[in-house]
């Protein structure tokens, strides 16, 4: 029993250390907080069942990320099949921040204003990625550009937008701090 308790404790420590990061990672792929929570939970449960006997940290972490990655891609695949089947427009997956009304609007306006100021094809690429949820590969095919270029332009868009946000830092920090609560 002592051994069991020890394993459970080290599993809990492992969970506490990596859960938030795993969730963050999963959410970027499936773009849905609730689904991501489900997926990550299943991964942790199966991880425990497979590796109950011991938990080398680094190895466990790599296994965790790999599992989250695979499970997320599986989820997207299933979702695509479902979508094709039903052929109805799915509610747009929400990646928007839920903020108090006024601040939400202000932040969105700020991002939209900055978006218009992006040079082409940076703006177009960013819009396709963020608002039409296209993968880098899909954007590259659509615009007949090398994928590397898409990657590069996404980085550039992030840089410009991040800097324009930085000018409005006081507001944004209030928002971020609200999230700490």
């Amino acid at each position: 029993l002592d051994n069991q308790v020890h394993n459970e404790k080290s599993f809990e420590a492992f969970f506490r250390k990596y859960h938030a990061a795993a969730l963050r990672y999963c959410q970027t792929i499936v773009m849905d907080r609730d689904e991501a929570e489900d997926i990550v939970q299943k991964v942790f449960v199966s991880l425990w069942r497979v590796k109950q006997s011991g938990f080398p940290d680094a190895e466990g972490r790599a296994y965790l990320y790999r599992s989250v990655y695979n499970a997320s891609l599986d989820f997207l695949k299933h979702q695509k099949v479902k979508q094709a089947h039903a052929k109805e427009t799915m509610a747009t997956r929400s990646t928007q921040i839920v903020l108090p009304e006024g601040e939400q609007r202000e932040l969105q306006q700020l991002i939209h204003r900055s978006l218009d100021a992006l040079p082409e094809p940076c703006r177009k690429i960013f819009m396709l990625n963020r608002f039409e949820n296209l993968k880098y590969r899909e954007i590259a095919a659509k615009l007949s550009l090398p994928e590397k270029k898409v990657e590069n332009q996404m980085g550039k868009a992030l840089k410009i937008l991040r800097e324009s946000l930085r000018e409005h830092l006081p507001l944004l920090f209030t928002i971020i701090l609200l999230y700490h609560d």
């Binding site: 404790k9 970027t28 590069n152 971020i176 700490h180």
Partner: protein, 359 residues
């Protein structure tokens, strides 16, 4: 001059859901490197429309998983006693303390130990390499050999262990540490908390506020009534961290210069920019310098040209917020197949000289 784009590309890939597991892990490592990196990442999250909070609450998720796994009773009880932030924590502390206190000086619970110093100092060993000295009247609660709650004053000497980052609560403050020496002094009426760091660094935050990092030779003073957290530099001669300098000198290929020794603490703390000077006595050409952090495969690259003075050239570039304080491995390459490498410690607000050894 620095290709900030590189880190932006990594983050954009991550936030677009394009990151492979290894990239995601590398980015998490980068993010955890410093508070500035956290904030940088937080802004990127805003751009992509993700809420970002560095301290998420894992408790509900853990409760659900525990149910599914049918863990034994003991561990559930441990979690039930789990400390949470804010008032809840103080209530739990009071409850636990009351249960454990029971007349004696030191009573062990299943997961918690309470130590109390009477009229004299009391030494508490957390493990073979870490100890806490409690000053008279202080109380310390230890869970699984981690000090987690302090009432009163104490000094800490904690061995470096990446698996065991420590978070100590005292009053409204949470003090996090990874391998360091520091002390916490609380005034008699609990009005002021002074944290002073003699070695390594600690991160301090008032509950629900942004953390502040305190480096060796500095201290932070917190005034409970006004909830003010002020940082200041102590004047301890010879206390500055010179480990990087020594390491570089030993190799005989580089030296560091502290041009801004007197920079204020505010600079050091936010210190998101500084200079790196590349020096070479015999080269008059261009090359590439790359700085790599611990586990990051991709580092920060910059191209440079020695143009100022061919006979003893230097090249100066500014580094920005993602090149924060810490030790970096540097790699130098030029068009003639010459390579050089070494380690450099970047300290905020200071100028670092990397001297290249050329054949």
């Amino acid at each position: 001059m620095i290709e900030e784009n590189e880190i932006d590309e990594c983050i954009a890939r991550f936030l677009s859901g394009e990151a492979k597991p290894e990239e995601a892990m590398a980015l998490e490592d980068w993010r955890e490197l410093s508070t500035a990196n956290e904030q940088y990442f937080a802004r990127c999250c805003m751009v992509f429309g993700y809420p970002h909070s560095s301290e998420s609450d894992d408790q509900p998720a853990w409760e659900e998983i525990k149910k599914k796994l049918e863990f034994t009773g003991r561990i559930q009880r441990a979690s039930f006693l789990k400390w949470t932030a804010g008032i809840a924590a103080s209530l739990v502390v009071i409850t636990v303390a009351a249960v454990l206190f029971h007349g004696d000086k030191q009573i062990a619970g299943p997961d918690y130990q309470l130590y109390t110093a009477g009229a004299t100092e009391k030494k508490v060993l957390l493990d073979s390499a870490s100890e806490v000295v409690l000053f008279p009247g202080a109380q310390l609660i230890v869970k699984n050999r981690h000090a987690i709650h302090l009432k009163g004053s104490a000094s800490f000497s904690i061995a470096h262990d990446t698996m065991r980052s420590l978070a100590i609560e005292t009053g409204n403050l949470v003090i996090k540490d990874i391998g360091t020496r520091f002390s916490i002094t609380t005034s008699a009426n609990n009005d002021t908390i002074l944290v002073s760091v003699t070695e390594g660094e600690v991160s301090i935050h008032e509950k629900n506020r942004t953390p502040v990092e305190i480096y060796a030779g500095n201290e932070a003073r917190y005034i409970s009534a006004t909830r003010e957290l002020k940082t200041q530099r102590q004047n301890i001669p010879g206390k500055k961290d010179t480990s990087g300098k020594a390491a570089l000198k030993q190799k005989g290929i580089a030296a560091t210069e502290d041009k801004h020794e007197q920079s204020s603490f505010a600079d050091q703390h936010t210190g998101q920019t500084g200079n790196i000077v590349l020096g070479c006595n015999s080269c008059a050409e261009s090359g590439q310098l790359e700085l790599l952090t611990g586990s990051q495969r991709k580092g920060i690259k910059t191209d440079f040209e020695f143009s100022e003075n061919p006979a003893g050239s230097t090249f100066r570039f500014r580094y920005s917020m993602h090149l924060l304080r810490g030790e970096y491995k540097w790699l130098y390459r030029d068009g003639h197949g010459n390579n050089d490498s070494g380690r450099v410690t970047i300290e905020s607000g200071k100028e670092q000289l990397i001297r290249l050894l050329r054949p």
